[in-house]
């Protein structure tokens, strides 16, 4: 039965977050190794099962048989044969394992490599495109939804602002832990662009506390042109809302309350670009990482989801979220301590319904 289950695993329809549906060369290599070891293991299982079932069936006690079995004590030739047999099988697996390992772990280098720094937070992801800069020197910072061009080697350099997380988009590569105080690398290469609005899912794979299940990742894969367009759009600041609108009232609230944790880059009527909100750097190994207290909200409405890939980005959900974030996602903001850098989620801000609607109206302008 269980071998049958394993066979089903190899053949049944898999979901969009399946390691068995590789969408890039690295995941394909890993899947190839899996296939090798899976079929070898299955062959061993079938062999052992046949021996075993035969022994059980053939040598069962039968009614009326009074004879006693022969008292065999062992057979050294069989023992040695068994050992040699298993050593050979394992040698067959170990060679491609070590080769594949060195390939997977190699950090890509060269001018064509897209460098992205990743900071894991309880419970969201921060991405900084360190080589994509605006004329004023700002780098591209976004959260939870990662955008990459197709057929391009992407080097993620990752650290954590708090506890250990693990970055995992199974169709592109295996997972890699994101450890505070260290930097780790993971290479992403995706074969095909994703349809607009249908990013590839992934999620944090190392237990990181309350909302570990809701620390998801969305990966958008673009053609080279559409990636360039996306970068340009993200680097261009949204305008501050015009006076007298609901969004403008929302901005007063946002600037007074939300910028304690969230960054946003905006342009005023004089054309001056200002990034509001906290700017913090942390070190992981010998690398410096951008580390805000909450997701950067610049161009929020260009994303498809919020809450670290957990909720669809629409007015209804956002209104609920701004009203009472913990009703949607389990967090522990009562224990936040910004001075020591401890952030365990978004607190209930105590805004009234009018203020909430104004803030959401503001967010809607950040397309």
């Amino acid at each position: 039965m269980a071998p049958l289950v394993l066979v089903l695993a190899a053949c049944s329809g898999n979901g969009p977050q399946s390691a068995l549906e590789p969408g890039g060369p690295i995941a394909k290599d890993i899947d190839g190794l899996w296939d090798l070891v899976f079929w070898l293991a299955t062959a061993v299982m079938i062999f052992v099962t046949i021996l075993y079932v035969w022994a059980i069936w053939r040598y069962r006690e039968r009614a009326g048989d009074e004879s006693e079995p022969k008292q065999a004590h062992g057979n050294t030739a069989i023992e040695v044969g068994g050992v040699v047999f298993s050593v050979v099988l394992l040698a067959i697996i170990s060679v491609p394992t070590v080769r594949g390992l060195l390939d997977v772990r190699a950090i890509p280098e060269g001018p064509d490599v897209l460098q992205i720094q990743v900071t894991g937070h309880q419970w969201w992801w921060e991405f900084e495109y360190v080589d994509e800069t605006a004329p004023d020197g700002r780098t591209l910072i976004t959260a939870n939804e990662l955008h990459i061009p197709e057929d391009t080697r992407v080097n993620l350099t990752m650290t954590s602002a708090d506890v250990i997380h693990s970055f995992w988009v199974p169709t592109i590569n295996g997972k890699r832990d994101v450890v505070p105080g260290r930097s780790s690398n993971l290479t992403l290469i995706a074969d095909d662009p994703t349809p607009p609005g249908e990013p590839i899912p992934g999620q944090c794979a190392e237990f990181c506390g309350l909302a570990h299940a809701d620390m998801r990742i969305k990966l958008h894969v673009h053609t080279a042109d559409s990636f360039a367009a996306w970068v340009e759009e993200q680097l261009a600041p949204s305008p501050l809302p015009a006076e007298g609108t609901a969004a403008a009232a929302g901005w007063d609230t946002f600037n007074a309350v939300c910028t304690t944790c969230h960054q946003v880059t905006l342009e005023d009527v004089e054309g001056e670009v200002v990034t509001y909100g906290p700017d913090r750097l942390i070190t992981g190994g010998d690398v410096e990482f951008r580390s805000s207290f909450g997701p950067n909200l610049t161009h929020l409405f260009s994303r498809t989801t919020f809450g670290s890939g957990t909720f669809p980005l629409d007015v209804a959900h956002l209104t609920q979220w701004v009203d009472n974030p913990q009703a949607l996602k389990p967090m522990d903001p009562d224990r936040n301590d910004l001075a020591s850098g401890r952030v365990l989620g978004m607190p209930d801000l105590g805004l009234d319904p009018v203020e909430i609607a104004q803030v959401v109206a503001l967010l809607e302008t950040w397309k």
Binding site: A2, V5, A9, N14, G15, Q17, I30, L33, W34, V37, V44, M45, V48, L51, Y52, A55, Y59, E61, D65, S67, E68, P69, K70, Q71, A72, H73, G74, N75, I78, E79, G82, V83, S86, L90, T97, V98, G100, L101, L102, R105, D162, V163, I164, W168, P170, K175, R176, D177, V179, P180, G181, R182, P201, Q203, A205, G209, A213, P330, R335, R342
Partner: protein, 633 residues
Amino acid sequence: MTTTAADQQIIRSPGQRGVWAWITTVDHKRIGLLYAVTAAAFFFIGGLEALLVRTQLFGPDLEVLSAAAYNQLFTMHGLTMVFLVVMPIAAAFTNYFLPILIGARDVAFPRLNAFSYWLFLLAGLLIYSSFLLGGAPDGAWVGYAPLSTQLTEVVRMDFWSIGLQLLGVASIASSANFIATVFTMRAPGMTMLRMPVFAWMSLVVAFLLIFSLPSVAIGLFQLFLDRNYGALFYASAAGGDPLLWQHLFWIFGHPEVYVLVLPAMGIVSEVLPTFARKPLFGYPFVVFAGAAIGFVGFGVWSHHMFTSGMGPLAEAGFGVATMIIAVPTGVKIFNWIGTLWGGKIKFNTPMLFSVAFIAMFTIGGLSGVTHAVVPSDTQQHDTYYVVAHFHYVLFGGAIFGYVSGVYYWFPKWTGRMLNETLGKIHFWLALIGFNLTFGPMHILGLNGMPRRTYRYPDGLGWANWNAVATIGAYIILLAFLVFAWNIVRSHFLAKGERVGNDPWDGRTLEWTIASPPPVHNFDEVPVVHSLDDFWHQKYAEDEEGRAVRMPAVTGGALTVDKKTGGEGDDDGEHLDIHMPSPSYYPALSALGIATLGAGLIYLPWGFFAVGIGGAIMLWGLFGWSLEPVTKEH
């Protein structure tokens, strides 16, 4: 029974009934039963926790449990099953049968044995008291830093670190005891290579624990100091290293896996020959393979950390070492099949569970080999595939082995058989429920479902298999309710068939003595002439090598009288056998240490409890060392 001064002088007054007799007992069999009953209770609690977890995961985005409750329940499920169920059930079998299997009257240090049990029980109760004191540990059983050191103002992870520390002390004490027992208490003629495989595996496990527990003990101390005194061992911002915890934990944690499963392999290696009516095939190879698994098991801990960020060379090394472990494991499996080959197999319930053990363990072993393929493991790590793997090893493996042991040795414990029909119902429900629960988890993991997640969205293709797994979990519950009823019915309602010394036509020394055994086990210390000595007393071999029943076994060391023993009917008094007297000092010492530990959780106010606990502990230890082992003539 009347207790005279003379009784008090030379025996351990086993006839006393009531709670006090159990608290002061130093009899390895009673301590074994205490371990068994405690482990059974924790098994149902840990199982209930698993059922709640499975209920929450029955469908996408269910709200049966909050995230906070879910995290506590899966943490406690893991902690409970590893430390409060499988380790103590192994300790139960080892306590009860290790001395008997090697022809001894007790373990080397009977009072230390009692101490180990009481400390284990109190540590378990301490950990569980957290549910009533603000919440249970919620950082997973592995307690990775810095998540486990993050919220120092919430004490639940202190329950975890102190509780594990106390359990470790209990395990080290009992391991030293078992090692001393094997090395010094074997009957005349019981050479090492005449010891039953179960005794061998107990010995290997004891060494594994002695060498592995100090590592996690140091880790737990550091973690405790980090949490309570800002020691910063694992605080990266201050130059500490969170990965250090992972190394210290897994240097213990990986050998721990073999601690959990090797005794079950020992049981299977006893059950198969008995029901196939053939000696264990390749006995020295099975023994050596067990020792090799234990030894190599110390060199593979980092395969739990293939995504943590070691260098690729280290990863390659640990990957290959992990593959090497498959070799001795394969040796065991082939020898078990060899034992069945050419036999005459009776499928009583103990045998069914042992047969299933081999099949399920083989699946778990093979899925383990897939983890050694490091790149592939970066996909499987921390997913339900891993959850499936280790449940095939530890449930379909270890637990099935221990259940087999319960059916096998139950008549020795109680003098009554478990019901075969109920046993078979239990077996088939357990086998089907188990595979329904854990088989689909392989698929879920490969399809990207991470473990330790309290909810999952629709649309990732996980809903159906999760529903199947949850249904399977309820079938497992049903199976073990049948088991519980079988035990209650046979023993407590006295409906089990009464049996004599040797209901299975067994091979080893425990079947030579009464069921249940007398307090002193053996009227005369047996003299052992071969492996499976008792079998050779009963059977010779004809020229073809077939077993031939010998006329009757008489006299000598291996007397097969039908005297009912135990419970004061035969206290060995007439044989002038000196057994150690009961003592409450082991329990008192354990109480002192547990109180001290409880105080550490609530520092600084807990220093009062630390002081009181320390005083009780010293009282216990002084009393222990100053009281005479047996009262004087």
